[in-house]
Symmetry: C2
Subunit: 341 residues, 2 copies
């Protein structure tokens, strides 16, 4: 046995006894209710201070039916995009005296729902799910649990009542449009076969930009990675093995682009002289690759903040639908240039 065995903490009753009042009065005094005489309140607060009293949130939660806690479920904590989002969530949560539970679901829908259930059992006030694979299927569940669920970048092909999504279409259209404007006509796309809705959208933007320029898409220039660096390398290898090389490559995300960049260098080709390269997300890293990467900035931190603010608003009793959409901003760096003549 060690020294951390639970034994009685000092509670509101202890200081009630010490102050010679009822514990109800102590409770009121500590929340500076106007129902208690100022001097008594002061005296009680001093005693509480002296005793080192700290309120017990568990008891309070049981009484108030509120835990001041929100649960966040993500696919992979260590993913830089996710980490940024969570950082945004945590910032506004703490600013409003909420704590945040963090849990991983490894992109598995069943685990995702199990985690949501576990959050519910802990009676979180609200739940945030990033890159949900469950999407609008939550609507009945949230209603039954009486717990609001907000989705960030819903990956299920459904429109959910409360969500913050990045609309990838204009961003990728703009990125590919930028390549077209530079004079490229042979533009490849490296997608993410696990990217679900997001991959579809980015591919959509790619196609729209080509159509707008009257360029026919070429089947063999559409390949897929896994959204991670490795996948980018494999996909880029496939492209470089082709008889006809594209002069530019638009990638599902920065990680994919970084993988592609590496393979391009391995083949002694130069970016952007031989091949232009663009990504999506604007990871911290993107500005530090060789050359710095042209990409579409996804406001990760911001999106975490927005989702949390929506949640807090719902918890405050407002009931506006909140299908918020953000757009990416094209950031032109050194990895894109006109094609060789």
């Amino acid at each position: 046995m060690n020294t951390f065995a639970r034994s009685s903490y000092i509670s509101i009753k202890d200081i009630a006894k010490a102050a010679g009042v009822s514990h109800a009065t102590v409770s009121r005094a500590l929340q500076s209710s106007s129902l208690v005489k100022p001097e008594t309140a002061q005296r009680i607060r001093e005693i509480a201070q002296r005793f080192g009293y700290r309120p017990n949130f568990v008891g309070r939660s049981l009484a108030t039916q509120r835990t001041q806690t929100i649960g966040v479920v993500v696919n992979a904590i260590a993913d830089p995009i996710v980490a940024e989002m969570v950082s945004g969530v945590e910032a506004v949560a703490r600013a409003h005296d909420y704590s945040v539970y963090l849990a991983n679901c490894h992109a598995d829908p069943e685990t995702e729902m199990r985690v949501v259930q576990s959050f519910h059992e802990r009676r979180v006030d609200g739940i945030l799910v990033a890159a949900s694979r469950v999407g609008a299927l939550y609507e009945p569940i949230a209603a039954q649990m009486r717990t609001p669920i907000i989705l960030i970048n819903n990956q299920h092909p459904s429109s959910y009542k409360y969500s913050v999504n990045i609309n990838s279409i204009p961003g990728s259209r703009e990125a590919v449009g930028h390549l077209v404007a530079l004079g490229h006509r042979d533009i490849a796309y490296i997608g993410d076969r696990f990217g679900y809705q997001t991959d579809l959208d980015r591919f959509s933007g790619y196609r729209q930009a080509l159509e707008l320029a009257g360029i026919a898409a070429r089947e063999e220039w559409i390949v897929h990675g896994d959204g991670k660096l490795e996948g980018g390398t494999l996909a880029m290898r496939k492209l470089l093995d082709l008889p006809a090389l594209p002069s530019a490559v638009f990638c599902y995300n920065d990680m994919t682009a970084i993988g592609a960049l590496r393979v391009i260098h391995e083949h002694s080709l130069r970016v952007p002289q031989d091949i232009s390269l663009a990504g999506f997300d604007d990871l911290f890293l993107a500005s530090y690759t060789e050359p710095p990467l042209t990409t579409v900035r996804q406001p990760k931190h911001e999106m975490g903040r927005m989702a949390t603010e929506i949640l807090l608003r719902i918890l405050a009793g407002e009931d506006s639908d909140a299908r918020t959409e953000v757009k990416g901003e094209l950031i032109v760096r050194a990895s894109t240039a006109p094609p060789r003549a």
Copy 2:
């Protein structure tokens, strides 16, 4: 008002009424206590199932004085090392049915302690602090709170009872030794002026390796960044402005090294032909820089896991001191080579 207004959930009492037993029996049935007749238990479980009953952890926590929750406080959620550690923590926590609170303290000791307090008020069963600026000062606090605190990479110059630290000295000594073995004698160090204990240790290892080789350290080749990429660039510029250039640079961490790498390239120098470069941490990125970075691997995920396991052991009643130390492993990649003749 929206649909998420709190109103009564179904509780153990509801299904007690439905089953025609007391709520005590239901409680027992649901934790499969041997005190209740198997058939009754079965019947109760079925009714609970049908009612969609989910236990309320708040009530349970109040009764058991346990929340099955651990709090994690970190300096910056989005820091890749931190994210990896948290990922390790979450994995073992969830495997043992613990939930984890995550909070940021932005490397500010006061915020750090405030967060610890807030975790205590929520009656977490234990607390993990990564890169604490408070260190052993927690000993009395943890005792008073009756809540175990485990430190990961304690940054306070004090030895704390429960901690998992990386001992940077052998790792950096090995890294610099590797440079020496390659034939380098002019080796610079780029430190982290906010690195506290860790910076001291890595510098120590550097000096020991030099001493071992009978090389005198040169004041002007010891510069400091901020542990981040930007700091690395500034520090490297300072080195490159010197009349006498080092032939190798050992960096406080990979981020610093990546910054340095960038500046070296800007000056049209090559790594490793002109300058060898080594880092510390083995970030995911380190193997994807140009050239891949020689570095010392810090087992981030592992350290998160270990700390959590220690915590769980303490919570199970064991009371062994646990000053665990891990070592880094030198990973030789392409950024180090013999100096030019």
